[in-house]
């Protein structure tokens, strides 16, 4: 059965003033005032994301100041948005054979999928907790090693979280 549609000209005069409806709506608002709040005063009140959160990808920096990355380019290969560009080179330091001479992530292309972190054989690239990314130009959105390298201690939580799933 098709429900009969109520049109504006079907309403009587009192209904047409909408007074009852206005009070219905206001009563809902009034009731909600006393309930628990779900919103937050961002940016004054910061949010600490859970450890499973995928913020911007960063490179793990070892104590000696170098990156863990060996420039295998698996992250660049797996990246569905082709955000990562790496140029490998040879190194004779720290028992590594190769290192990334250039490691750049285009943060405008990055879709925060975390595939790079998942594929990395060295636990060298991880998703951080940072989500506040602002750029004023396209070039500024390309993060080089200077912005990507984060000391290992600061990423300890994430590294331990990942180890549960290895």
């Amino acid at each position: 059965m098709i429900k009969k549609q109520i049109r504006k000209n079907d309403l009587n005069f009192f209904q047409r003033t909408y007074i009852t409806e206005i009070f219905k709506g206001l009563s809902l608002t009034f009731r909600k005032i006393f309930q628990k709040k779900f919103t937050r005063q961002y940016p004054e009140e910061k949010w600490n994301p859970p450890i499973s959160f995928r913020g911007r990808p960063v490179l793990v920096q070892e104590k000696n100041g170098t990156e863990r990355c060996v420039a295998c380019m698996l992250c660049a290969r797996v990246c569905p948005a082709l955000a990562i560009e790496i140029q490998a080179d040879e190194t004779f330091e720290y028992s590594k054979e190769r290192y990334p001479k250039k490691f750049e992530i285009n943060m405008l292309r990055c879709i925060f999928c975390g595939f790079c972190e998942e594929v990395c054989p060295e636990e060298a690239i991880v998703m951080s907790q940072e989500f506040e990314l602002v750029f004023s130009s396209q070039d500024e959105a390309i993060f080089g090693k200077d912005k990507l390298l984060i000391p290992k201690e600061k990423l300890q939580n994430r590294l331990e979280f990942l180890r549960q799933y290895r």
Binding site: C72, R77, L82, E97, E104, N106, E122
Partner: protein, 571 residues
């Protein structure tokens, strides 16, 4: 003598001198292998090509026994045999896909992988590694070996172009056999025994023959890698285009590896008629740097002794107005054995029909003594055969005319002729020199107008090698006249998905043109009204006008080249 064998139930007639792996490969059944190589002797040490081999069962009288249905009963050998060293015999039955064989392959793979390091992420071979491919196809994916892997020397420079990682070596001995049998300069050897087997050079020697880098292509794993290409790029980020080496007149078939519009490496491509699987180190390392570096990015005109870059139209009109000052007999047109057939043919047509000069020549570049038995030839140009075919004279005959000041203008195609002082001094007698050149060199220094021309890696065309084989070159590096997608270039992943603001699409594009196109523009500036849209159009005209090119076409040349008609009888 022909024999009949059965591979996986398929009856095949073949020559009795062949081995099972050869017959299988020729008939579309690929048998996995590491140490076997079509051009090398059989070593039979990797055991990857195990197959089940049987013969029809015979009774005591020597008659073939049959089952209830009348089909002959096959009696298989008690153990699996390696296909690479098993010669075919009449009635032989070969199984390559049964469970028994799959189990055996998995066991062999597990055995080979016992001491193979998990180096793939830092190994240059990854992506084109036989062991990696087979680990996916023929392996169970895990190892039962729970002890420490054997440690061996890594990062050993065993030659000036080759890097050795002994841990990765699977002891297939292809490189050793290559040096012994193909180059005939034995320099590699296995030392130690068991799982300590190590590839080394003989004491006090190194892998320095002129073909050493072929061992890199031969190596089925990443044990031997190129020092030049080391860590430059991943193979899956590059595009690969079939081309021809321009290092000498052999015309070795090559594959050009390009990333971000820059050539990163050349590798040989199989052509049994020319270079088989090989190419020399010299050709591999020294024929792409001039494409990437030291380029002329725009046409240039010399004003008051200094070059200034200009537009194409300006350079062309300047050339035309200058050339018109001279009578035809005062103009010398010099072809180039480095340029394609198309370029030189059109140059000759331009000289004959537009400039109406008879002074047409080219200079040979022969390095005497620089040759060997295998590939390297004395003639260091890829296309001198065609120039003789087109009727270009010997350049040295015209030097006299230049010194007598009978020649006052020179139109020169991509060639650096001012290599010694006598020729530089001679050319100072000439009033006007126009040259096409991809690179800055001594000749462009003394020219008045320089057209920036494309290199072999940026144009379509054909080259004719020393025995008269016409072979195709294709563009792999884009110039401003190209669009990778629209012009049918080989495209890497990055080329396909890169946007204008991605850094990997920003490889330098030069404003260079194919020489035949420049000649076409100059000729039309003289009022010639020629109509060629592609290099293929020019080639069609060559086929109509030059007898030995008759009935040729780009389609017929394809990837393997085509011999000139008059040369067919000699080969």
């Amino acid at each position: 003598m022909n024999v009949s064998i059965t591979i996986d139930g398929k009856k095949i007639d073949c020559d009795f001198s062949k081995t099972v792996i050869q017959v299988a490969q020729e008939n579309g059944t690929s048998i996995p292998h590491f140490c076997w190589h079509p051009s090398l002797s059989v070593s039979g040490n990797c055991r990857m090509c195990l197959v089940d081999v049987g013969m029809p069962k015979r009774n005591r009288e020597g008659q073939i026994e049959v089952d209830a249905n009348g089909n002959p009963i096959t009696q298989f050998m008690p153990k699996l045999a390696i296909a690479c060293s098993t010669q075919v015999a009449d009635g032989m039955v070969v199984e390559t896909k049964s469970d028994k064989i799959i189990n055996a392959r998995e066991a062999v793979m597990e055995f080979i992988l016992i001491n193979h390091p998990l180096d793939c992420p830092i190994c240059d071979e990854a992506g084109e590694c036989k062991l990696q491919d087979y680990a996916y196809k023929h392996s169970v994916g895990e190892s039962r070996f729970e002890f420490e892997k054997v440690q061996k020397p890594k990062r050993v420079a065993i030659g000036k172009n080759v890097m050795l990682d002994n841990e990765r070596c699977i002891m297939c001995s292809r490189c050793i056999r290559f040096c012994d049998e193909i180059v005939k300069e034995p320099s590699l050897v296995f030392s130690e025994r068991g799982d300590n087997v190590t590839l080394t050079t003989f004491p006090g020697t190194s892998l320095d023959n002129s073909y050493s880098m072929n061992t890199i292509d031969l190596c089925p794993v990443g044990a031997l890698t190129s020092k030049d290409f080391r860590f430059k790029a991943r193979v899956w980020d590059m595009s690969f285009t079939d081309s021809i080496c321009v290092g000498c007149s052999r015309g070795c078939n090559t594959t050009v590896g390009v990333r971000n519009n820059e050539i990163l490496r050349l590798t040989p491509r199989l052509n049994e008629n020319v270079n088989s699987y090989w190419m020399c180190d010299d050709g591999r390392l020294n024929t792409f740097e001039f494409v990437n570096k030291n380029r002329i990015k725009q046409p240039m005109i010399k004003r008051d002794g200094k070059f200034s870059e200009c537009e194409w139209d300006e350079a062309i009109s300047k050339t035309i107005s200058e050339l018109k000052r001279f009578s035809p007999s005062e103009i010398l047109v010099i072809g180039s054995p480095f340029a394609t057939n198309e370029d030189n043919f059109l140059l000759k047509k331009f000289a004959k029909q537009v400039l109406k000069t008879e002074n047409i020549c080219f200079f040979n570049h022969i390095v005497e003594g620089n040759k060997d038995e295998l590939l390297i030839l004395e003639d260091k140009t890829p296309n001198s055969f065609a120039l003789k075919e087109f009727g270009f004279g010997n350049g040295n005959n015209f030097l006299q005319m230049i010194s007598e000041k009978k020649i006052r203008a020179v139109y020169l195609l991509e060639d650096n002729i001012a290599t010694d002082e006598t020729i530089v001094n001679l050319l100072s007698n000439v009033d006007f020199i126009v040259t096409h050149s991809p690179n800055l060199n001594a000749t462009t220094q003394i020219a008045s107008v320089v057209f920036s021309s494309s290199t072999y890696a940026e144009k379509n065309g054909t080259l004719t090698n020393f025995e008269g084989r016409v072979q195709r070159i294709r563009p792999s590096v884009a110039t401003l006249e190209h669009d990778r997608a629209l012009d049918g270039f080989a495209m890497s992943r990055l080329d396909q998905f890169g946007a204008h603001n991605d850094r990997w699409t920003k490889g330098e594009k030069r404003d260079a043109r194919s020489s035949w196109k420049i000649i076409l523009n100059v000729a039309n500036g003289f009022g010639a009204k020629w109509k060629y849209n592609t290099a293929e159009d020019v080639f069609k005209e060559i086929c109509l006008n030059v007898k030995s090119f008759e009935n040729m076409s780009y389609a017929k040349i394809s990837n393997k080249g085509l011999l000139l008609k008059k040369m067919e009888m000699y080969v």
